[in-house]
C-alpha cells in the first residue's frame, strides 16, 4: 500500500480538505500521522482502495495540497546507534520501543514519516529511497 505525505496551509480552517477529498472521490483513506500547526499541516495517509488512488491524489493536488509519495521504511545503522531514546519520543505510530536498553524498530508499524531521522543525534537512521 502506498503512503503519501500531504502538506498544506491550515489558514483555510473552514475547508476540511481531506474529508472533502474523501467525500468527493468516494475513496477511503487511513490517516497514519497528522501534525497540524497554526499555519500549516502535515499528514501521512494510505489509500485503502488501490482503484481510486490516482483520483484522490489528483483531487488533493488540485486543492493546492503538496503531495509526496513516501518510499521505504526507516533503517538503522547498528554500528552508529547509541541506543538513547530520542527517536522513540517523536515516533507517531509507536514503532520504536526500548527493549533491554536497546532501541528496537517495528518495521510493520513504521510509516516512514522521517520524524526520527531528524532527531537522531548521531544520524544513525535513514530512509533509503527505493
Amino acid at each position: 500500500m502506498n503512503r503519501y505525505e500531504l502538506k498544506y496551509r491550515t489558514d483555510e480552517a473552514k475547508n476540511p480538505i481531506l474529508a472533502q477529498a474523501v467525500l468527493e472521490t468516494g475513496c477511503l483513506v487511513n490517516i497514519l500521522l497528522a501534525d497540524v500547526e497554526s499555519s500549516r499541516g502535515r499528514m501521512v495517509i494510505t489509500v485503502i482502495d488501490d482503484g481510486c488512488e490516482k483520483k484522490i491524489i489528483k483531487y488533493l493536488k488540485d486543492m493546492g495540497v503538496e503531495v509526496k509519495k513516501l518510499e521505504g521504511r526507516v533503517e538503522k545503522d547498528e554500528g552508529s546507534c547509541i541506543d538513547c531514546g530520542a527517536c522513540k519520543g517523536v515516533c507517531p505510530t509507536d514503532a520504536i520501543e526500548m527493549v533491554d536498553d536497546t532501541m528496537e524498530l517495528d518495521e510493520k508499524k513504521c510509516v516512514g514519516c522521517g520524524e526520527c531521522v531528524v532527531v537522531c543525534p548521531v544520524r544513525a537512521l535513514t530512509i533509503p529511497i527505493q
Binding site: 489558514d11 480552517a13 500547526e37 547509541i82 541506543d83 530520542a86 519520543g89 536498553d101 548521531v122
Partner: protein
C-alpha cells in the same frame, strides 16, 4: 568498620578487591545488610553516557616554518578559539561549522580526531617579527599534535530536569524535540547508576579522582561550572587525553535546530570506605527525584509541571495533568552500563589505584543568575497601542478601506466583547474573491500567533522569526486586543538599546 584507601588499593594490587556495579549494590545491601555490604564490597562503579555541551579540547599544533602566531583558526571549518599563545587552540563542542552548519560542529571534530581521521586546519594571523607567517593550511591527525586533551568545564550533572512542552507548537530544544500539548517527556541522566548520585556528599569524588572518560583514563580537575551540590545539582570539571579514547564512548552529536554537542561516557569508581558510603551507593531510582519542567515557556525559570522519580521516568510513561505521556531518555543506559562494567574491569585488572589524597570539592555553592544591566523591553512598552480592529460581522469593503486609510497590512478581527477572533491580511482578500464572500468573519485567518503585554520583545522576536510573520496582535488575559507589535517596533527598540 571502616576501611582506608590504602587498604582498598592493597586489595586491588593483590587482585582480591570486590568490585560491583551501582545497579547491583541495592540488592547486596538488601540481602546482606549495610554493615556486611560495607565490609564485603570494596568498590562500586558507576556510569553515564549523554550529551555534555560544556566540553571541548585543548590542542597544540606545533610550530610551522616560517612560524605563525595564530589569530583565528578553523578545524574542518569549525572555528577554534586561539587567543592563547601561538599554536594552542580550544575547540568547543557546540561551535558550529561554517560549511555544514548544525550537521557538524566542534563535538564532531573531537570525534574525528579520536577516530584518527585527517582534520583540515586553516589559520590566519597579522604577522609579527617573531611570527612572520600570515596564513597556514594543512591537514593533521591526532598523531601529529603535541597535546590534545579534553578539558570540560561542566560535565556529569548529578541529575537533570525532565522536559515537556505545554505550548501549542512543537519546539526543538537542547532537551530534544518536544511535541505540543505535553506530547512527550524527554529526560537525561542515568538515575541510580549516575556517578554523583552515588556519592552526593563528595566524600570520595574530588579533585584528582581517576575516572573513565571517553574510553580512556581521565581525572576530575575541580568542581564544574554552575556546581550546585546543596540542591542536588553538582557538576564536575574533567580532563583526559584524547589519545586512548574510543569513539564508542565519545561522539559528536546533532541536536536538531539547537546545535551540536559532544556525547561523552564517564564512569567513576567509588571506594566503599564505610557504611555511609555503602548506603549512598545503594540508592535506587524511586528515591531519585527531579523536576518535570515546561520548556514551552522560554524563560530562565521554567514552570515545574510536577516532581517525578527516575523510576517513573523509566517505565516509559508518566501521568501529567491526568494524561499518560510517554517518556524517553536522551542518555544511553546501554552504553552507561557498559562503562560501569568497563570501569570495574580496569580495577580488577589491578594496575588501577585510588588517589590517596584527593582535594574535596565544595559541598555548598550558590549558582547566581546573570546580572543583566540592560533589560529586554517588555512588549507593553514597545507595541503600538492604537490598533485598528474590525468586527467579525463587518464588511470586507470596510476592512479594505481601513487598511488603505491607515496604511496597515493586516487588521485584527474582534468579536462582540472585543476579543480577538482572527486576523485579515491582504491574502484573505484573495480568498474572499475566490469564494465570493464579503464578511470579515468568513475569510479571516482564525489561528493567530499572539503576544502578551508582559512578555519581553526577545520572546516575540523569536516567535515571529520561527513562524515567518512580521507582526502579532497583543492580547490581554481576557483575549482582548490591546496593541500590535511589529518587527519594525522591535528593531527600533533594539536600536535604542544599542545607543
Amino acid at each position: 568498620m571502616a576501611k582506608t584507601i590504602q587498604e582498598i588499593n592493597e586489595r586491588i594490587r593483590a587482585g582480591d578487591a570486590v568490585v560491583v556495579g551501582a545497579d547491583e549494590m541495592p540488592h547486596i545491601v538488601a540481602e546482606r545488610g549495610l554493615e556486611k555490604a560495607a565490609k564485603d564490597v570494596d568498590v562500586v562503579t558507576t556510569g553515564t553516557f549523554g550529551a555534555m555541551c560544556s566540553s571541548g579540547a585543548f590542542l597544540n599544533f606545533g610550530h610551522s616554518d616560517p612560524p605563525i602566531k595564530i589569530q583565528k583558526c578553523w578545524l574542518n571549518e569549525v572555528e577554534a578559539y586561539s587567543g592563547l599563545a601561538a599554536v594552542d587552540a580550544y575547540i568547543g563542542a557546540t561551535e558550529l561549522s561554517q560549511d555544514r552548519g548544525m550537521e557538524y560542529g566542534g563535538g564532531h571534530v573531537i570525534e574525528d580526531l579520536v577516530a584518527g581521521k585527517r582534520i583540515s586546519l586553516r589559520a590566519n594571523s597579522y604577522g609579527t617579527d617573531c611570527y612572520p607567517a600570515n596564513r597556514v593550511e594543512t591537514e593533521l591527525t591526532l598523531e601529529d599534535l603535541n597535546q590534545a586533551y579534553l578539558f570540560n568545564p561542566r560535565n556529569n550533572y548529578q541529575r537533570y530536569a525532565a522536559a515537556a512542552n505545554s505550548s501549542g507548537h512543537r519546539i526543538r530544544t537542547y532537551m530534544g524535540t518536544l511535541l505540543p500539548e505535553l506530547g512527550n517527556v524527554n529526560f537525561a541522566g542515568t538515575g541510580h547508576i549516575s556517578p554523583l548520585l552515588n556519592d552526593p556528599e563528595y566524600r570520595t569524588i574530588g579533585f584528582g579522582t581517576h575516572i573513565f572518560l571517553g574510553g580512556a583514563r581521565g581525572r576530575i580537575v575541580g568542581e564544574g561550572t554552575q556546581h550546585n551540590p546543596g540542591t542536588g545539582w553538582g557538576t564536575l570539571a574533567v580532563k583526559g587525553d584524547l589519545e586512548g579514547m574510543d569513539t564508542d564512548f565519545i561522539r559528536g552529536a546533532v541536536i536538531p535546530e539547537y546545535g551540536t554537542s559532544l556525547l561523552i561516557g564517564i564512569g567513576i569508581p567509588i571506594p566503599i570506605l564505610d557504611e555511609e558510603i555503602a548506603k549512598s551507593t545503594a540508592v535506587t531510582n524511586d528515591r531519585i527525584e527531579t523536576n518535570l519542567l515546561d520548556y514551552g515557556i522560554a524563560r530562565r525559570d521554567r514552570p515545574i509541571l510536577k516532581k517525578v522519580t527516575y523510576e517513573q521516568l523509566l517505565t516509559g510513561h508518566i501521568e501529567v495533568e491526568k494524561r499518560e505521556i510517554r517518556t524517553s531518555s536522551l542518555s544511553s543506559f546501554k552504553i552507561a552500563k557498559k562503562i560501569m562494567k568497563e570501569t570495574a574491569s580496569w580495577i580488577k585488572g589491578s594496575d588501577f589505584r585510588f588517589c590517596e589524597d584527593i582535594e574535596r570539592l565544595p559541598c555548598k555553592r550558590e549558582v547566581k543568575p546573570m546580572r543583566v544591566s540592560v533589560e529586554s523591553p517588555k512588549v507593553s512598552t514597545v507595541m503600538t497601542k492604537k490598533v485598528h480592529t474590525a468586527p467579525e460581522s463587518g464588511s470586507l469593503k470596510d476592512v479594505s478601506k481601513l487598511m488603505i486609510d491607515k496604511g496597515v497590512d493586516q487588521v485584527p478581527i474582534v468579536d462582540g466583547e472585543g476579543r480577538l477572533a482572527g486576523i485579515v491580511t491582504s491574502f484573505d482578500f484573495l480568498k474572499a474573491h475566490a469564494r465570493q464572500k464579503d464578511k470579515a468573519g468568513h475569510v479571516m485567518t482564525r489561528s493567530v500567533i499572539t503576544s502578551s503585554p508582559g512578555e519581553t520583545i526577545d520572546e516575540v522576536s523569536r516567535r515571529l522569526q520561527k513562524h515567518g510573520y512580521n507582526s502579532t496582535p497583543v492580547i490581554d488575559g481576557d483575549g482582548r486586543v490591546v496593541g500590535i507589535i511589529t518587527l519594525t517596533d522591535i528593531n527600533r527598540a533594539y536600536g535604542r538599546l544599542k545607543r
